[in-house]
């Protein structure tokens, strides 16, 4: 009977990562503080946009259908900016993965950051690895219950903070905070907080690496972004093997102390080679470097290295320089496309017209004959005022000089458009009886709109339908 288990549902092997210190661990602390700081604090940055507009620097105003990002204001029809950002995020992920493996996963992925934070809490309350392993196997006691409860409460509070921070991106933060406390906020706010609290609690506290291995699609895709020149966490087996006691002259550098395995949040042994589960967090590098330092051996038994370097290093040559790994056709291409999208978006952002107008000819009917025989066409104009103050828009047409313009419900050829609103306006263009455009089937027509205050203008071309006789 073979040993291998065939269970489809292997029970989860709990992982108790050991504390580690070192340069990568420090980098991870810094990144944790910065990313969490950005996440929790951003909604509280104020930004004065003048009257009638929200004073929050970053705000997704779903009800008002606006997205505010500091000085940038995105309207629903400009959603391509968001699409562009998503494309850039995707390409950025490709770029970093092809250069450095799963660094996103190891350092900045929310799942990793919060899991790291949760493990930190766990370690504070229950002690380091050995204490936690012991506690895990111990039967229930008052002490265990107390420790567990404390841990879960702190986790739940962090979860609450996470869900709580999220909703502030969608409403004025101070107001919402007050409403939340007074139980006056919208039910959807409470529901969102509850769901995010629960997911943070469960994902960060209990599922941890399971999310990365079984739920996240990225580990399955990343292989396509990497090649032999990608720098990723690896073990120099030609240097470490065969493992043995430090005193053993025939053994390699690896003393089989299991430090690298014990610190790994994914619960893998990097000495088995590259694995899908590895998030290249480099904690094993820190752990092993520590051991090597103590033994007085060279660091880098576990290191960021590229597969293509292995044979050269094994043969005693120097590895290729770092820039050789980072600057490859693949990474240059990703960078180029990434910058292209970025430039296009910045360009689009600055070239956004100040006046936006759409013109839709009314097609039912295409034209109306008036009692004196003149021909009238109707158009639906939408005028968008993206400024914080009311603007007066003048409207006129180019084309047949005989055309008479009329605005619905207004004796003038100018209309006020309220701040931050889109005005729908019906405009009539009449061609006198016998005029060329009244008789032609179609005549080109251009609508001009200008801001009477500052002279900015915009136009849209359309068609005037005549009787065609």
């Amino acid at each position: 009977m073979p040993e291998s288990s065939t269970s489809l549902y292997a029970a989860r092997e709990p992982i108790f990562p050991r504390r580690v210190s070192g340069r990568f661990r420090n980098l991870k602390w810094v990144i944790m503080v910065v990313t969490l700081g950005i996440y929790y604090l951003t909604p509280w940055i104020r930004w004065d946009r003048g009257p009638n507009l929200p004073d929050q620097a970053v705000l997704v105003d779903l009800a008002g259908r606006r997205f505010y990002f500091f000085w940038i204001e995105i309207w629903p029809h400009e959603f391509y900016f968001v699409a562009g950002l998503l494309i850039m995020a995707g390409l950025g992920l490709f770029l970093f993965t092809s250069a450095l493996g799963r660094v996103w996963c190891g350092y900045t992925c929310p799942q990793t950051v919060w899991t790291d934070l949760f493990i930190l809490v766990e370690r504070w309350i229950e002690g380091d690895r050995n204490a936690r392993v012991k506690l895990h196997h111990a039967g229930w006691s008052v002490r265990k219950a107390r420790l567990r409860l404390t841990k879960w409460i702190v986790w739940a509070l962090i979860g609450l903070g996470t869900g709580g921070a999220w909703v502030f991106y969608f409403a004025d933060a101070p107001t919402l905070f007050r409403d939340l406390i007074n139980l006056e906020a919208a039910p959807v706010a409470y529901a969102t907080i509850a769901i995010l609290t629960a997911t943070t609690f469960v994902f960060g506290g209990f599922m941890r690496e399971q999310v990365c291995i079984y739920m996240c699609p990225w580990p399955r895709i990343q292989g396509a972004m990497m090649d032999n020149d990608t720098l990723t966490v690896g073990y120099r087996d030609w240097r470490g093997e065969p493992r043995g006691k430090a005193r053993d002259a025939n053994a390699g550098d690896c003393v089989d102390c299991m430090a690298c395995v014990n610190v790994c949040p994914m619960g893998i042994d990097i000495r088995d080679g590259q694995q899908m589960e590895c998030i290249t967090c480099a904690l094993c590098i820190d752990a092993c470097d520590d051991v090597m330092d103590k033994l007085g051996r060279d660091r880098g038994l576990i290191d960021y290295l590229a597969l293509s370097d292995a044979p050269r290093e094994e043969a005693g040559e120097k590895p290729k320089p770092i820039w050789h790994h980072v600057l490859r056709r693949r990474t240059v291409l990703y960078t180029a496309i990434w910058s292209l999208v970025g430039f296009a978006m910045v360009y689009a952002l600055f070239m956004r017209p100040e006046i936006e107008m759409t013109v839709a000819p009314v097609r039912n009917p295409t034209f109306v004959t008036l009692s004196d025989g003149s021909i009238r066409n109707a158009y639906e104009l939408r005028l968008r005022n993206k400024h914080g103050a009311e603007r007066m828009f003048g409207i006129h047409v180019n084309g047949d000089a005989m055309w008479v313009l009329g605005l619905e419900g207004s004796p003038y050829s100018a209309v006020p458009v309220a701040a931050n609103e889109t005005l729908k306006l019906r405009v009539y263009v009449t061609a006198p009886v016998g005029s060329e455009s009244a008789q032609a089937a179609e005549t080109p027509l251009r609508f001009w709109v200008d801001d009477l205050a500052n002279g900015e203008r915009a136009y849209k071309n359309t068609i005037f339908n005549g009787s065609g006789s």
Partner: protein, 283 residues
């Protein structure tokens, strides 16, 4: 039950099912999965008791909570009506003679009227209100009975030439086949399109003055009191060609519109009048 058999290769229990020598291993579902599954079944049963679900002989079970989608729609409608109550009151109080087209009330009335129009009026006057032969175009500036907001509202409320509303706008053109000879009718039909620069001294001009001017006016420009069309403009309700004019004069026309005041609420009448008036033809 027999002792569970242990599969030799895997060392696992089998289910005891044997299909031509192929046996099924006992791989139980994870417990959390099973628990959620059973809980959902229980929840499902509770749900079908609480809400309408089970098909019965006449209709489905009502459910303990008394919920129904129809009830929800009714509640929705009531809520909307309540939300608009103020606007409706204002609309009922609004002097239709001076309705500010820039006001919020006007926008509300026009939007509401548009909905009423599409449901009730578009069958005859067309979805775009451009009318058709015999059905007036509501977009142009030609009105049989007057194009002010008040006049339009009156026409909608009481209708035209119907038998149901005593206040309906009413007039009747005689069928001239009993009054004039066919040649005389043809002459008038030929004369009408020459209006307004017509030869009034001609035989047809004299015939027109004698027979038609009492309703359509000395110059043929119509009379809104009588709903008599302006014959001197470019618009024709039934057609301005010779043949149609002969037919119109010979047999006359009798366009009928129902009294919508009997079918619609007063606020709907006012709303649809506002909408029609704002379409570009209103005076």
């Amino acid at each position: 039950m027999a002792e569970p058999r242990i599969d030799e290769l895997t060392g696992r229990e089998t289910m005891g099912h044997d299909f031509d020598g192929i046996e099924e291993l006992n791989n139980p579902m994870p417990r959390w999965w099973l628990i959620s599954f059973y809980l959902l079944i229980i929840w499902g049963i509770g749900y079908t008791i609480a809400y309408p679900a089970w098909p019965m002989i006449s209709g489905a079970s009502k459910g303990l909570l008394g919920y129904s989608t129809r009830g929800e729609v009714a509640a929705d409608i009531t809520a909307h009506e309540a939300a608009n109550a103020e606007l409706v009151t204002a609309l009922l109080a609004q002097d239709m003679g001076e309705f500010d087209p820039q006001s919020d009330l006007h926008r509300y009335a026009a939007a509401r009227g548009g909905a009423v129009f599409r449901a009730q009026c578009s069958q005859c006057h067309g979805a775009g209100a451009a009318g058709g032969e015999g059905y007036p175009n509501l977009l142009d500036n030609d009105w049989l009975w007057g194009g002010s907001l008040k006049d339009v509202a009156y026409s909608i409320r009481h209708g035209i030439r119907n038998q149901t509303d005593d206040d309906a706008r009413y007039s009747e053109m005689p069928a001239f086949k009993d009054i004039l000879e066919a040649e005389q009718i043809a002459a008038i039909a030929a004369f009408i399109p020459t209006l307004p620069q017509a030869d009034w001294e001609s035989e047809a001009g004299v015939l027109f003055t004698d027979n038609c001017a009492s309703c359509h006016g000395d110059q043929g420009t119509g009379d809104r009191e009588l709903g008599a069309p302006n014959l001197a403009d470019a618009l024709w309700l039934y057609g301005g060609d010779q043949e149609t004019l002969v037919e119109t004069i010979t047999y006359s026309r009798f366009g009928v519109m129902p009294a919508w005041g009997q079918r619609l609420s007063e606020e709907d009448v006012r709303a649809v009048a506002t909408y029609v008036h704002a379409l570009g033809g209103g005076e």
